[in-house]
Amino acid sequence: MDFTFTDEQQMLRDSVSGFLTKNYDFDQRNEIVRSDTGWSRDIWRQFAELGLLGLPFPENQGGFGGGATETVAIAEPFGAHLLAEPYIACISLGGAAVAAAGNSDWLEKVMNGDAIAAFAYEEGRGTADPIQVTMQATPTDEGFILTGEKRMVLAGGEADILVVAAELDDELGLFLVDPSADGLSVTSYPTMDGRRAANIRFEAVLANSIMEKPGEAIRTLLDNAILAICAESVGAMGALMKQTAEYAGTRKQFGVSIGSFQVVAHRMADMKIAYNKARATLLYSAALIEAGEATQKDIAILKGQTGKLGREIGEAAIQTHGGVGMTDELSVSHYHKRILANDALLGSSEYHLRKVGTLS
């Protein structure tokens, strides 16, 4: 058994981390989030140059063939820097969907940073499993017709292409939709964790099928996206732990640093335990996914534990910071909000931990 990064993976991680430390500190990040677009095309272009946009895609499709470990290696720093750019939306979800469908035109644009692909999947209140998708695709002579609504489509408002998951003949299929298509209405909004998403209504929208009966493909896509989401959260958790330890070591009350109060110290010990559990599960799950041995239970454990432990850490960090932890000014609450938003995506910890119990 070996759960360490290779030298190459460590270099990748360090380079992403170094890039973000230089170009994406908390103030820079906030400026980007508060801008009209909510994220930076400039950063995105540099991601393309660094090869990050093509990282997870197979070499025969023009990508760099990165696996689960590479995803972890870059997504942890993304979390630590509260990335606003739509990496998960456009690469782990939208791009992965066009890649899975073998659509090399769109994939190339995505990898070059020339197009944003969004994945329209969620239908409201946590579409945790593909079988919960209810939108129907109706075949007609001109193509497929989609009617219904997708919600919380990450980067849905700025997408150049939408990949929509919809039911066809009682099985899931993937469909390409032009965001300017007739019958489509897009309501775009910022999310509470500093990203952009959209609710999208479909009224008899024409769509191209790119994958019918995807079977395991869609499950694989979701599993990889869950890994990226969880890695991002674990990155945020690590940052929270570090910052809280630093604050507790310097903030004084009653004449001593608050970290010298045993209750505060034990809360930090619990944060560290939670972080190590979450990170161990993240790395172990990455190894399982890489070995092709991850079961649905393993994925549920990963998503469930990350959400639960992340919430514990976030709440502990705010409580330890006290008043300043309640402000928009400090990054603490922003990390917590990112963790909570990630928990809600693709099935909450409530959902997944219960699923673990049903899979036994």
């Binding site: 969620e122 009350q253 006290g322 008043g323 309640m326």
Partner: protein
């Protein structure tokens, strides 16, 4: 033992319900529905305060001779239940729940005459100037100083976490008037009859939910009259401790918690559990709700024992126990709300939250408030003496229950 279940109470309930159905304006109702905090939207809240005052119902827990209602404990709970059932905005606690009762207990006749009518009538809003950047849980270490100068004090320093100071027209505060002794000594309690003194500056702080609720208040040689002092100079810690009793004691808080659960259950009727049924019929949801509901019930019992005069309320740590229980239940309810709203709570919709905003929310009212309420509720275990400090206080009394 005795609990009144008489039919007169049902008449009272009907009377309360009828008034609460009719009296609030649409904007007041909207403010209640958009509540994301203990502190309701200011403008509508004060308007509602004035309406309640006209009816004589602004301060049920005040002594009757000062404008209280003289209701029995049963009646007070019925009022609170009917009030919460309609999601009406709670009146702001700083004036009615804190400085008002304090003045009734410890104010001079002159102070009472000058200030109580405005407090009771909802004409004034008082900000609470306690915490400072370096004095949070360690409140007694405060350093914002007031130097006597003739009939005045000259204040220098700053206060922080001063809720709604940007809406206030008056302020009560703790200042340092002596540095020579123990830190608890040398503190003085002051009333400021206005907040626009020269040298006073109020800066709102944007909270983690994106809204400014707290403020920083800066004092640069601010001259205020000494007549605003409550109690003796340097005896402000005793005054503040007296007030904390009111701040922590909070009567009839359980109806708010119960109403929170009701809203969750209502939303659960149309929210799929992800496991084949609506959440409301889902056994896991039912168990979690049952556990929380039972714990809220125990808190309600605790609260009712106290307000009905059971000796349990004489325990010196009663205010701390009450604050700890209530704040942690508020947080648990807030988590339940985000659980039932799920991904629909993720959009950031601050504009739609504004009362009177012409912005359609993306989902239901509960979806709209869920995340701001959850986030804002993280403060309940921090403010008014962090729960760590409360538990320190409670621990000192264990085994001395007599």
């Amino acid at each position: 033992m005795d609990i009144d279940f008489g039919s007169k109470l049902e008449d009272f309930r009907a009377e309360v319900g009828a008034f609460l159905d009719e009296a609030p304006t649409p904007a007041i109702r909207e403010a209640g529905r958009k509540l994301t905090s203990v502190f309701a939207p200011f403008e509508q809240c004060m308007e509602w305060h004035q309406i309640l005052h006209k009816k004589g119902w602004a301060a049920p827990s005040w002594p009757k001779e000062y404008g209280g209602t003289g209701w029995s404990v049963e009646q007070r709970y019925i009022f609170a239940e009917e009030y919460r059932k309609r999601d009406l905005p709670p009146l702001l606690p700083q004036s009615l729940g804190m400085v008002g009762p304090l003045l009734i207990d410890l104010g001079t006749e002159e102070q009472k005459e000058k200030y109580l009518p405005g407090i009771l009538g909802g004409l004034d809003f008082w900000a609470q100037g306690y915490s400072e950047p370096n004095s949070g849980s360690d409140l007694a270490s405060l350093s914002c100083r007031a130097d006597a100068d003739g009939d005045d004090y000259i204040i220098n320093g700053s206060k922080i976490w001063t809720t709604y100071a940007h809406h206030a027209n008056r302020m009560f505060m703790l200042v340092r008037t002596d540095n020579s002794g123990k830190k608890q000594q040398g503190i003085t309690f002051l009333l400021l009859d206005r907040v626009d003194y020269e040298g006073m500056e109020i800066r709102p702080i944007v909270g983690l939910d994106g809204s400014p609720e707290q403020c920083e208040v800066f004092f640069d040689n601010v001259r205020v009259p000494q007549s605003g002092r409550v109690g003796e100079e340097n005896d402000g810690w005793t005054v503040a401790k007296h007030l904390l009793k009111h701040e922590r004691g909070g009567s009839a808080a359980s109806p708010t918690l119960k109403r929170g659960l009701e809203r969750v259950r209502e939303a659960a009727k149309s929210t799929p559990s992800g496991f084949g049924s609506m959440m409301v019929d889902d056994p896991v949801f039912q168990r979690d709700m049952g556990e929380l509901e039972a714990d809220i019930a125990s808190y309600e019992h605790f609260e009712k024992l106290a307000v009905s005069g059971h000796p349990m309320a004489n325990d010196p740590s009663f205010p701390s126990m009450n604050k700890t229980m209530n704040s942690e239940l508020v947080q648990r309810v807030s988590v339940m709300i985000t659980r039932v709203t799920g991904t629909e709570a993720i959009p950031f919709q601050n504009e739609a939250l504004r009362v009177g905003a012409n912005v359609e929310p993306l989902g239901t009212d509960l979806d709209l408030v869920a995340m701001p309420y959850y986030l804002n509720s993280r403060a309940t275990t921090i403010y008014a003496g962090s729960n760590e400090v409360q538990r320190d206080l409670i621990a000192r009394t264990v085994g001395r229950e007599g």
